[in-house]
Assembly symmetry: C2
Homo-oligomer: 152 residues x 2
């Protein structure tokens, strides 16, 4: 975790670049996310995987990887972590024995709900200097950037 930021005027050309500001903001938010989750210590990507599993029970690993924008191989450790915590299980799928359906457990669902609360608290705190309108605008503009990916 970094500590001393730079005065926003010193970075010259960089200050006008969306990419630079996006990265700096991303680091701040991610650091605060991890700090807010503290002991639970669930990383952003594990939280994302748990969220998608809870919201899409019986999703396959490949589908989850596609949703998250990571490779199948990279998802294995994430699912392992969630399975080790007892938050989901890899269930066999009748009709195709290659596939694992990811099924959230009772513990997984309630851990998710508790963690989602922490995450929402972290965002409410971190973005408390912004109005509801500003937060929604930021969200909308970020989604607009994300939509660029779909033209590929």
């Amino acid at each position: 975790m970094a500590k001393k930021p730079l005065q926003s005027t010193e970075a010259g050309d960089l200050e006008d670049l969306i990419g630079y500001n996006l990265k700096r903001a991303y680091v701040i938010v991610q650091d605060d996310f991890r700090q807010a989750l503290g002991d639970d210590n669930m990383s952003p990507r594990v939280f994302t995987a748990l969220s998608l599993t809870v919201n899409h029970p019986n999703i396959t690993q490949s589908a989850l990887a596609r949703m998250m924008g990571v490779e199948r191989s990279g998802l294995v450790a994430i699912v392992d972590a969630l399975e080790d915590e007892g938050y989901l299980r890899r269930a066999p799928v009748p009709g195709d024995r290659r596939v694992h359906a990811l099924v959230p457990t009772k513990a997984g669902t309630s851990a998710y709900e508790k963690t989602l609360g922490l995450v929402k608290g972290h965002e409410a705190r971190l973005f408390s200097c912004m109005t509801a309108n500003e937060k929604q605008t930021l969200l909308d503009l970020l989604k607009k950037v994300r939509r660029q990916e779909e033209r590929a």
Copy 2:
């Protein structure tokens, strides 16, 4: 580099989180940055270091690290890369022999200007679906997020 994105409606709770959208947008922009620079293959962080060195000639490594929000130790490889390319040199500072002043070379300055052009082109292209107003608003809101770091 990931390939298949997810439909923005499928992610449930995540879609309302600024952090999640920030990360997804960041990945898209960073991937496009690297693709746009292509053969030059200057990574975002090396570009950032070059930019700050050109805009703050004679900056020390420690000061540059602080500006970038990384550790001193992590900056060594970045400065090495720029020195290997002949884009800057570590100059001795009279009066304090511990310190290295980073001085951009002629080649470094012109490489920077060329690369800055590529970066601006990449952003213009990637964000072409947004109005000038929207881009400025996004920039302003990201800076507002960044300002949260200064309260620590």
